[in-house]
Every structure is written in C-alpha cells, then in structure tokens.
C-alpha cells in the first residue's frame, strides 16, 4: 500500500494527491506477482517498466530498497523511479543498426571482421563465419584467422598486409585463396582499413566476400582465352579480326610475321595504313561485301608485302564476326601462305607448258612419220600386188621401176626424218659466236653458180662485225635454205632481189631475209608454212622439208622464226637468235 510519494512520482503513474490507502504498489507494475515475490526477499532490486500514452512509450526503472525499523525489521520498501526512455531508445536504435548490418551482410554476402589491437580480440560477423564455414559459436583470434589462408603466397600476403596496416595505417584490398574449416579451397576478396586513434592504428576493420564462383568463372574464361590465343598463335595461318571500319582489333603471330610488324603497329590500323592503295582497296571491298552479305567470302589470292618489300602470296578467307545478339560487328580474316605452293605451281605450269609444246611436237612428228612411212609402205604393197598378178613383161618392168622410185623416196624420207630427230635430240648444243656477214658470204660463194643462173641481186646490209651465237652447221643450213628459197620462189616477172638485214633487239638478234618473189597467202597457209612436207607452189622441186628443218634448228637453239608475206610482192623471213647465254 502506498504511503507517501513525491509529486513527480505520482505523475509517472498518473495518480492524484492522497489519500493513497487504496493504491496497492504491486498493481502499479506489470507482472505484479513477480514484484511481490521480489519484495518479500527483503533485498534491493530494480525493475524496468513502461507506460503508454498518446506520445508513445516511456521507459522507467524503479529501485526497490527495503525499509528497516530500529530493530532492523523490514517494515516497507522505498521506491525510487527514474525515467530511462532515452537510454532505452538508444539501445533499440543500436539493435536496429546491428540488425540492419546483419541483413546487409547476409544479402550482399559480405562478411565483416574487426581486430582490436589492444585486446587482440578478433570479431567475425555471422556472414564471415558462414564464408569460413565455421559454427556461429566459433571465436577467432588473429592467429587462427591467418591460418585460414592457404599456406604460401596467401598466408604470407595476409600476414604482411595486416602487419603493414597496423604499422603504417595502410588500407588493403586483395584477392586470396583460403581453406575453409571444412577443407574447401575458395577465393575471397579481403579488404581491411585501420582505424586510428591519436594517429595510431588501434583497430582493423574490414570485409570478406566470397568470390570463388566469380574467380572460377574468370579463370575459366582466362583459360579459354589462353587456349584460344595459343591455338591462334600457333596455327600456320595468318589470322586477324577487323572492326566494321576494317581496323584490325586482333592479329596473330603469323600475321605479324607475314607483315614483318609488331602487333602494336598493326592494331587499330586499316589496310590503307598497311599496304598500297590498290591492295587496300581490294581488301576493303572484300570486307564490305562480307558486312553487307553477312556471308563468308570464298578464299581469294592476295599478295602481302612486308616492311622490306618481300612479298608473299596468301589465300585469304573473310568470315563475318557476329556479336552475342547476332549482329555483325567485325570480320575475321584467315590467310594461308601459299607462296611456296605458288612457286611450285609456277614451276609446274612452266614444265607443263614445255611438256605440252614437246608433246605437240612429238605428236606432230609421229603423225608425219606414220603418214609418210605409211604412204610409202602402201605404195610398196600395192605395187607388189600388181607385180604378182602381172604377166605382161613390159608392165612388170614398169612396176619394177616404180618400186625402185618408191624405195628411193622412202630412203629420202627416212633421211629427212633422221635429220629432224638429230636436231631435236641434241642435248648439248655447241653454240659459238659466229660472224654473220662472213657466214653469208661463204654460203653465197657456194651458191654462186645457182645465183648467177637466176641473175640474183643480193643486198647484204649486215654489219661486218656482227656476231650471232649459233651452232655453225645450223647457221649455214639456215642461211642456205632461206637464200635458196628466196631464189626458188622468185617471180618470173621480176629479176630476183634479196635484202639481208640484222639488228640487235634486247637479248636477241633479228636476222631477216626479204625477197621480191611470189609471196605466200598467209591467210590461207599461215601456220602450215613451216610444216613438214608442206609445199605451196607447183613444180618448184619443193619437198616441204627445208623450212621445217631450219625451224627445228632455230628452236633447238632457243630462237624463233616468223614470216611476213604478200602474194606476188615478196616474203620476209625473220630469224631470232637467242643471245642470252644464260639459257
């Protein structure tokens, strides 16, 4: 029962001025049973309680002290009540903040840690403990904390960082591997910041973040990248990636080597900065085609010049590069060095050409041989059959004389063919420098009777000191055939006139024999002029072998022969001697 109270005390409990005989103390507090029990213990105790009003909660603390009489008997209790609202509110705020921190920590999966230098206490938050896979009850200290780091680099680093932070006040942020309490190796991001008091670090505060999955993913990406670049760099192909402006954004080793430049000198450059305008234009056009069509371009032969001007041939394919959304964002160029292949191909083509020419010659020759020999043998068998059926002695005589004729012409044919074979099977030709003028004079002297009979005028305009490289016998044969032809096919309407000329043309000497004779219808005979057994004039003792022979001789010496002619005006035969001794 309340005996007396101050005004302020009464106000707390919203009581009016006395008399208080109806107010029971215990009824003023919640949980009055407990209070009554405490009171009967005759000890000092305190009690926290609150009131609720329109202004909110107010918090109080009441101290109960036993009231003794002179005989030390408890006769009552002294109650002192303090308003502790602000204290309680602070407490609640702190609790709320702690809760927030914990939530943030949990949501962000960032753990906190704290190290007190003075007490050497280490505090880990719940999230940190989760990261380290330790039970909530785990109490870390600085030593056990450091031992979670992987021995070696990890542990050394953390020890050094903590040491430096405490010594120099340096903050840190590092990624290290730890081994959790369950023995798992995981990557964490660790940050620490010293808190200083009077310029001296007293505490370290920091965060932990489990980045294991991220690191693993990054590692995987890095490994893929490493694999990719290893492959790209060791492929024997030049590879580059260009952006839509045809600027290189990736080049591999082979490409750098082909261009003779460092990657730094290539990246960000377009073809105009790397090659001549024409090549660059072609490359750019190819790129644009890929960008427009979104389709790979079939391999094209491209010549690439390096810095020293050394050129290599490449077979370049262009492939569109798409970004993740499927839009084109570049061009991949893959080139194969085909220089060696190309050289081989050129050699081969050259060889094929030579072979084709040889083959054609051979075919032609085989044809001639078979045709000519066959025609003789046909005559033989025909005549022999006639002979065996013939009884008339005069007719037999006739047939026999014809057989002799056939045999003679067969011999002649064989001799001609033999000459041709001789020319074409000479592997080593003994070419020597010969004075052309005096060679002509020599031949002309041998033919002087023939020339005199035909009243030929020969104009020799050849320099007396000009030399040609030739096999002596061939040169004689060439001059002889051309001169006799010029006379043989002279026009009956004009006295024959032969003009001889020679001049140096590069590494060739052109020797020409012009006449004013019958001429040839080149439109009609053209390529047949130099053919074997081709004759074009009637009854001139033509055998069709002379021009064929000298053409073979001239070609065997690496030269050539051609003819210009007009019917009934004359012909000019041009012989080109090859003076390039390297061949």
């Amino acid at each position: 029962m309340l005996l007396d109270a101050s005004d302020s005390w009464l106000e707390i409990f919203s009581l009016g001025q006395g008399p208080f005989d109806t107010v029971m103390i215990a009824q003023l507090y919640p949980r009055n049973g407990e209070l009554r029990h405490s009171l009967s213990g005759n000890k000092t105790f305190s009690l926290r309680h609150y009131t609720r009003s329109s202004e909110g909660f107010r918090w109080y603390r009441s101290f109960f002290s036993p009231w003794f009489d002179e005989n030390e008997n408890v006769v009552g209790s002294l109650v002192q009540t303090d308003d502790i609202t602000s204290e309680v509110e602070k407490e609640l705020e702190l609790e709320r903040l702690a809760n927030n921190l914990e939530t943030i920590s949990e949501v962000a999966q960032v753990g906190f840690w704290e190290y007190n230098r003075l007490t050497e206490e280490v505090h880990w938050c719940a999230q940190t403990k989760k990261i380290f896979q330790v039970p909530p009850s785990f109490r870390p200290d600085i030593k056990s904390g450091i031992e979670f780091y992987k021995p070696g680099h990890g542990r050394n680093t953390i020890s050094m960082l903590v040491h430096q932070a405490m010594k120099n006040g340096r903050a840190f942020n590092v990624r290290l591997p730890i081994i959790t309490a369950k023995g798992e190796e995981r990557w964490i991001d660790l940050a620490g910041k010293p808190i200083t008091k009077y310029g001296v670090p007293v505490k370290l505060f920091g965060t932990f973040q489990d980045v294991h999955e991220k690191v693993m993913a990054e590692n995987k990406v890095e490994q893929h990248q490493q694999l990719l670049s290893s492959i790209i760099d060791s492929l024997p192909l030049t590879i580059h990636v260009k952006d839509l402006d045809s600027k290189r954004i990736l080049v591999n080793k082979a490409e750098c080597e082909a261009l003779g430049m460092d990657p730094e000198a290539l990246l960000g450059k377009d073809d105009y900065q790397l090659s001549d305008a024409e090549t660059a234009q072609r490359a750019r056009e190819g790129d644009l085609k890929v960008i427009r069509s979104l389709k790979p371009l079939s391999p094209m032969e491209t010549e690439i010049q390096d810095k020293e001007g050394q050129s290599t041939n490449h077979l370049v394919s262009k492939i569109p590069l798409f970004d993740l959304s499927g839009k084109i964002n570049g061009i991949i160029g893959i080139g194969m060095d085909i220089t060696a292949l190309k050289k081989k191909e050129d050699q081969l083509r050259n060889l094929i050409n030579i072979t084709a020419v040889q083959n054609k010659k051979l075919m032609n020759f085989a044809h001639i041989v078979s045709h000519n020999l066959r025609s003789h043998s046909a005559n033989f068998s025909m005549l022999l059959k006639f002979l065996s059926n013939e009884n008339d002695p005069r007719e037999r005589e006739n047939i026999l004389s014809m057989l002799t004729q056939a045999s003679d012409s067969l011999l002649e044919t064989l001799e001609n063919l033999n000459q041709v074979v001789d020319i074409n099977t000479q592997i080593h030709l003994d070419k020597e420098p010969i004075n052309l003028y005096s060679s002509i004079a020599k031949v002309a002297k041998n033919l002087s009777a023939f020339f005199e009979k035909s009243q030929v005028e020969i104009v020799n305009n050849i320099a007396t000191d000009l030399q040609v490289h030739s096999v002596p016998a061939y040169l004689e044969s060439i001059i002889l055939n051309l001169l006799t032809n010029a006379v043989k096919y002279s026009s009956p309407d004009r006295s024959p006139r032969i003009v001889l000329e020679a001049e140096k043309q590069g590494d060739q000497i052109r020797f020409s024999v012009s006449d004013n004779g019958l001429g040839l219808d080149l439109g009609r005979y053209g390529d047949k002029v130099f053919g074997m057994y081709k004759t074009f004039h009637q009854g001139k003792e033509s055998k069709g072998i002379g021009l064929y022979l000298i053409k073979n001789q001239i070609e065997a010496m690496g030269g050539s022969i051609n003819v210009q002619s007009q019917v009934n005006q004359g012909s000019t035969f041009n012989v080109f001697f090859n003076e390039d001794e390297s061949q």
């Binding site: 045709h371 066959r374 005559n379 025909m382 005549l383 006639f386 057994y533 074009f536």
Partner: protein, 137 residues
C-alpha cells in the same frame, strides 16, 4: 564393166595415180580420165568445164595431202560451187589419223555428193566407188 563419162584423179604421187588407173581399168570404161597434181588444178578445170557447159566428172579420186590446195580445201571450194550433179568423191589417203576421218564425216553431212573414205593401199575398187549402188549384182 561400168561406163563412166568422166573421171578426175587428183593426187601428187605418180605411183598412186598409176595404181588408181590400174584398178580402174577392169571396172570402168571411161574415155575421159584426167589427172591433176593438186586441188587447185582440178578445181580450175572443174570450173572451166562448168562454165563452158562441159562434162562434170561423175567420179573424183581425191588425195588429202597435196601442195598448193589440199583435198579438204578442194572439197570446200567444190561445195561452194553448188553443183547440181551428184559427184562420187573417193578420198584416197594413207592417213590413219582419226581427225581426218572426222573431217570426212562432217563434209559428208554437209554436201549432197557421195563421199567415200578409202585408205591406201588401193588393191581394187568397188562399184560403189563409181557411184552406182543400184548396179551392184
């Protein structure tokens, strides 16, 4: 024995000409056998006869390889003459070149003349060489 009005033999090889004449003798009776050394001579003669209304040869023995104008060129010129009469032309050659055979074939399809292809040696001739298939016994 078949009577043929006119025969041309065009060949620059006297032995072949002799042979053709010899094998003709028992087969045909002809008072007008003319020999030419090349296509040009034969063609000129043919034109001459055609212009003067003379006898166009019924049968021609034609060599392929000849100077000045060869057998093929002769055929070309003959076709361009556009003669009404059908001439039996026997190509006589020692060539066994398939190209010559193909050439003959294409000429054969281009003209209305009867074109035969005979390889040397010629031991005898057939009636078909004289252009009269109906008379084959």
């Amino acid at each position: 024995m078949k009577i043929v009005k006119s025969i041309f033999i065009v060949d620059d090889d006297p032995i072949t000409v002799f042979g053709i004449k010899k094998v003709l003798k028992p087969m045909a009776q002809c008072d007008d056998v003319q020999i030419f050394q090349n296509g040009k001579e034969a063609f000129d003669a043919l034109c001459d006869r055609s212009a003067k209304g003379g006898e166009i040869p019924a049968v021609i023995f034609l060599d392929i390889n000849m100077p000045v104008m060869d057998g093929w060129d002769f055929l070309e010129e003959l076709i361009s003459l556009d003669l009404e009469q059908q001439i039996t032309i026997n190509m006589i050659t020692s060539s066994i070149d398939p190209q010559d055979y193909q050439k003959w074939n294409s000429f054969k399809n281009r003209c209305h003349h009867a074109l035969n292809f005979r390889n040397k040696p010629i031991f005898k001739i057939q009636y078909s060489d004289l252009g009269d298939l109906d008379l084959i016994p």
